[in-house]
Amino acid sequence: MTEFLSRPLPWYVAGPLIGLMVPLLLKIGNKPFGISSSLRHICAACVPGRVAFFRYDWKKELWNLVLVAGIVIGGALGGIVFRNPDPVRISPVAQSQLSTLGVNNQGGLHPIEVFNFESLLSPRGFILIVVGGFLVGFGARYAGGCTSGHSIMGMSNLQWPSLVASCSFFAGGLLMTWVILPRILGL
């Protein structure tokens, strides 16, 4: 059983399972699938300040905070308890492109040489983790959703603003990957 659960999931299994989150949440409580809103609820619950955007009844959205707590647990189950014994295998071309930029794949989910606590004290690590994280939070709220809320939930409901948002996500990612990231990794 452990061996079975430790196997990595191919996209054609994981994708549909993720897609099923949409009807599942609708069925159990008419809730729209979305994750970035949790960041807003956390702000509203912990540091609303005098900001109107965070002055609402966040307790009504407690289900969302419970859900993201579940994601942490799911990550622990998938990444530690039933972790894949094999290293993450990415394409050789991508691997060599990244090596040229100074990032080597040691088989973990994230490049540990860049994503660790010590690297926060270096410009490269600080920018990738803190600035990167900031942009994710800022951008997702500004866009009104992230890949879950727009790309999966929104597009499943044929909402064209979500398609626009998803294309914008992708454009930003491409711009970073091809133009800006090489400079950051070179720091």
């Binding site: 009807p23 069925k27 189950l77 990415i90 983790i129 990167g132 994710v136 914008s168």
Partner: protein, 136 residues
């Protein structure tokens, strides 16, 4: 306890995200470098399943477990979809994680992502602060 079902959904989602390596910085880089079908297949198949499920829910007027009608709010376009979207994309390629994966990574042992998560919360907060001054 009604919230238990949402916890379970989150656990399943986090597990699937992690086991499929969708939370891996390398996989996201691979995607933006067009070197693998993996992430494209994952997102597209998720959307297809989502689309079909919503179609069926509407077609058969499926109700919630407690008998409430299922009503999905439409998304109204605003320029944040574009500007915020690009900003999000920049961050996504930097951290290799969108919000869901940020939580999953913390659980999966990439503990430095707690800092990433805190930064994302900070980013959300600053958006709230500047909201009225930003183009929508």
């Amino acid at each position: 306890m009604i919230y238990l079902r949402y916890l379970v959904v989150g656990v399943v989602f986090g597990f699937v995200l992690t086991k499929s390596e969708a939370i891996s910085w390398f996989r996201i880089q691979e995607m933006f470098r067009f070197q693998s079908v993996h992430m494209y297949g994952l997102i597209l198949s998720a959307v297809l399943v989502g689309m079909l499920s919503i179609y069926l829910i509407k077609r058969f007027r499926v109700r919630t477990l407690t008998g409430e009608p299922i009503i999905i709010e439409p998304k109204v376009f605003h320029w944040g979809n574009v500007i915020g979207g690009v900003i999000f994309g920049l961050g996504w390629a930097m951290t290799g994680a969108c919000p869901g994966p940020l939580y999953a990574l913390v659980g999966a042992g990439v503990y430095v992502m707690v800092v990433g998560l805190l930064a994302a919360i900070a980013g959300t907060w600053v958006y709230g602060l500047l909201r009225d001054r930003l183009p929508h």
